[in-house]
């Protein structure tokens, strides 16, 4: 491990340790934050009991569905828009503003329309995540070097072969940025929707545990979601690094 990585680890350990100490010494009220060790043991008990399995399946499955739809639809829509310059020009200001307006405020509206089911959650998740993928696809296709079109002609490649063998690899890093953002947004939107108002799911479990003053359960669930989100982000980050390394010919 590098020196900087070591320092980072120490910083994190000291921070968690300080929180543990402050809780144990009573500097932080037990009703506000429980010691991290208790969070971990509560999570362990909860996971071992198996009562959480259905909720985990439901929430993670929904997030996976949202991400899959967002990536597939975002890529397809991005390709179509890229082929229609006039439409794209008209849509550009909307894309530029999209993440500046609180789209999530439409979640209750979706509940009013579709009722309290998984439909509003999936829709708000896709609405949050899909535009990042569209923008990334447009960016990626923009950056495909013009010379590749000539290469394709020289090699007499068909349209599909050009797309698969030349354009897709050239756009891949930008597409991956879109994937990363979609994953992150999908996570955030689904959990937030469940937390605010939903029939079931981990997010709703947290808000219920909060309402019941069940701090052990609440912190166990929070810890679980934070761990899963961090792991997923770390995997994507690692993949991103490898992509960057490959692009620079292994020199990075």
């Amino acid at each position: 491990m590098t020196r900087i990585g070591l320092i980072r680890l120490v910083v994190v350990i000291v921070a968690v340790g300080a929180l543990e100490l402050a809780c144990r010494l009573g500097l932080i009220n037990h009703n506000v934050i429980i010691p991290p060790s208790e969070m971990a043991s509560a999570l362990w008990t909860l996971l071992a009991s198996g009562t959480l399995n259905a909720e985990i399946e439901r929430t993670l499955g929904m997030i996976a569905l949202v991400i899959a739809i967002s990536i597939a639809a975002g890529f397809a829509i991005g390709c179509v828009i890229h082929a229609l310059p006039r439409v794209r020009e008209a849509l550009d200001p909307f894309f530029a503003t999209y993440y500046a307006v609180p789209v999530f405020i439409f979640y209750p509206v979706l509940i009013a329309i579709f009722g309290l089911s998984i439909m509003p959650i999936v829709l708000i998740g896709v609405a949050t995540a899909v535009v990042a993928m569209i923008i990334a696809t447009l960016n990626g296709l923009d950056r495909v070097p013009r010379v590749l079109a000539k290469v394709a002609r020289v090699h007499r490649l068909g349209r599909i072969a050009t797309a698969l063998q030349l354009q897709l690899p050239a756009a891949a890093p930008y597409l991956f940025t879109g994937v990363k953002l979609s994953v992150s947004y999908g996570f955030i939107a689904v959990i937030a929707a469940e937390f605010i108002l939903a029939p079931a799911g981990l997010g709703r479990d947290i808000s219920e545990a909060y309402a019941d003053f069940d701090n052990r359960r609440m912190y166990a669930l929070i810890l679980f979601i934070l761990i899963v989100a961090t792991l997923v982000n770390a995997v994507l980050h690692g993949f991103d690094m490898r992509l960057a390394q490959r692009r620079s010919g292994g020199r990075a």
Partner: protein
């Protein structure tokens, strides 16, 4: 010519949005989603009611306080991590992974610490805003040409003078990008806070409207928030472009 064409295209898309709203209204029914025109009429009639104004003021106040915290703390962390290489190298991945977490899971913790009143929502808004402001400020300060810092040292400027007269002016356009994104996510944080366990503010107003099946009110609040966020973002973007051209 191109400007008018672009404006026309934008209008066409706005019109398409209105049409799809109307279609959705036809499918969903009157109580779930009212038609565009009655909603606009309702909006114009109710923009000045005391109840709406009170909620608007609450949200504005919360956003204001949350922005002061986001900008203050975010800039402090960003300048520190940008100027001090080791802190930046150690801290950046930590900040990045915190940034991509679903912060809503931490809202109960914020509520337990700060209570159900205005301070909880302010803290939650700030929690959203601090990280992007800090990250973009750090990036901005890191990309300042070394020669500026060397000249600051040659002129024997104190650390504070270096920050005030060299670092901040040189990094201003990029820092401003951070402030703009910070504004967006702080607003989102405040609204999310209001949507859960809150009795005041536009976010709680929209939740109430849904529960009472008041479609017009629900859409009215959404439209006002959208318009406000879009205009604010446009304004900040305009300032940002000017700053970029100045440097």
């Amino acid at each position: 010519m191109t400007a008018t064409r672009r404006a026309a295209d934008t209008l066409v898309i706005l019109f398409a949005l209105l049409v799809s709203w109307e279609l959705l209204h036809k499918i969903a029914g009157e109580t779930a989603l009212p038609a565009p025109l009655p909603t606009l009429v309702y909006l114009l009639h109710n923009l000045t009611t005391p109840r709406f104004l009170a909620n608007l003021t609450t949200t504005a106040l919360e956003l204001g306080y949350a922005l002061i915290l986001s900008y203050g703390i975010g800039l402090a962390i960003g300048v520190w991590m940008g100027a001090h290489r080791l802190s930046g190298a150690v801290g950046e991945p930590i900040l990045v992974s915190l940034y991509s977490l679903p912060k809503i899971t931490l809202y109960p913790v914020v509520l337990l610490m700060f209570g159900l009143g205005i301070s909880g929502k302010v803290a939650f808004g700030a929690l959203h805003g601090i990280l992007p402001v800090a990250l973009l400020t750090m990036g901005a300060i890191r990309t300042i040409p070394q020669v500026y810092l060397r000249s600051a040292r040659t002129m024997q400027l104190s650390p504070w003078q270096t920050i005030a007269h060299v670092l901040l002016p040189a990094a201003l356009p990029e820092i401003f990008t951070g402030l703009r994104i910070g504004f967006t996510v702080t607003l989102l944080g405040v609204l999310l806070g209001e949507m859960f366990a809150s009795k005041e503010g536009l976010g709680s107003m929209i939740m109430n409207a849904v529960q009472l099946l008041q479609g017009e009110e629900m859409m009215m609040v959404a439209i006002v928030l959208f318009a406000f966020a879009a205009i604010a973002n446009g304004l900040l973007l305009w300032i940002e472009h000017r700053l970029h051209r100045r440097v």
